[in-house]
Symmetry: C2
Subunit: 180 residues, 2 copies
């Protein structure tokens, strides 16, 4: 149920915004952190209004409704942000595959792992590019964006090293099975 809090947070950052505005932010800034679709967002804004966590503060042309968080909404948001423990991602597609890697020949397993390493390295380079385009930017949003980016950099580096290490383990295993 974090879409609700993402919407509250964006409204808190922006002061006021329409569903359409929020959708733009979701597709730009939050695309890799918490994607959301139109239908989901408009539905959620409706529910938030019913729960009186946000309210319509202006209506403009083309049916536009500008929303802003209420006092209750702000409270709910801060409670989520600081007091609810973040739910760890329990499912991991790649580790599931690793679990079954013994079912295919070692050479194919090794290829799989090296493929993962390459994908991680590619992601790392992409993020390095983003990092460079960010140097010189100022403000608190740049600070927190930079922190999130650093997570991605460290994550992809970790994944790259781990996958290459794991491939090495398989090679060692194969060598041990066929000595001499």
């Amino acid at each position: 149920m974090s879409l609700r809090h993402a919407a509250l947070g964006l409204l808190a950052l922006r002061g006021e915004a329409s569903g359409y505005d929020l959708l733009g932010i979701f597709n730009e800034s939050l695309e890799h952190v918490w994607p959301a679709t139109q239908s989901q967002l408009y539905t959620e804004l409706g529910k938030l209004t019913d729960a009186e966590l946000v309210q319509v503060v202006a209506e403009g042309g083309r049916g536009r409704k500008a929303y802003a968080v209420t006092e209750a909404g702000r409270k709910e948001f801060e409670h989520w942000l600081l007091e609810e423990p973040p739910t760890t991602n329990r499912r991991n597609d790649m580790l599931l595959r690793v679990f079954f890697l013994g079912l295919v020949p070692p050479e194919q397993a090794r290829e799989f792992l090296l493929g993962r390493a390459a994908a991680a390295a590619e992601m790392h380079e992409r993020l390095r590019g983003v990092e460079e385009s960010l140097t010189g930017e100022q403000g608190p949003l740049a600070v927190h964006g930079r922190i999130a980016l650093e997570w991605g950099l460290r994550y992809s580096a970790m994944q790259d090293e781990w996958a290459r290490w794991a491939a090495g383990q398989l090679t060692a295993e194969g060598a041990a099975e066929q000595p001499g």
Copy 2:
């Protein structure tokens, strides 16, 4: 749709098993990689049977049905394992919170990050314990289990270091804002 492939993989490893058997494995070995509930698993086994990827090879007491993968099932499984690119986890609850950390006082933001570091360190220690209980184990399953475990160790270490680094960034920022 990976539950389907997890079930196929477990059946391939085990040769044959009932829904109840599989559920036990999901709760033990796959709990932190791909959890599944009763209702989900039995439903999936029904669908897999309809699709002729598995078949009932024996019926025992208490309504027990033992399943095994068919040739088509094995093919489908290997295709998934080696050729379909693993889907990266797109949503990250913690990074979403980081994105909004500018909305609360720096001291609270710092506390949040240090809390995350502590949680990661705790997870790391827990995994270290699992690692120790694994030394001496043999066999290919131990090898791949060890590789998955190593991922967890590196992931938690990375998260711990990152969170402490990030907390430092906020301190530096606060210090820069209030010099002298």
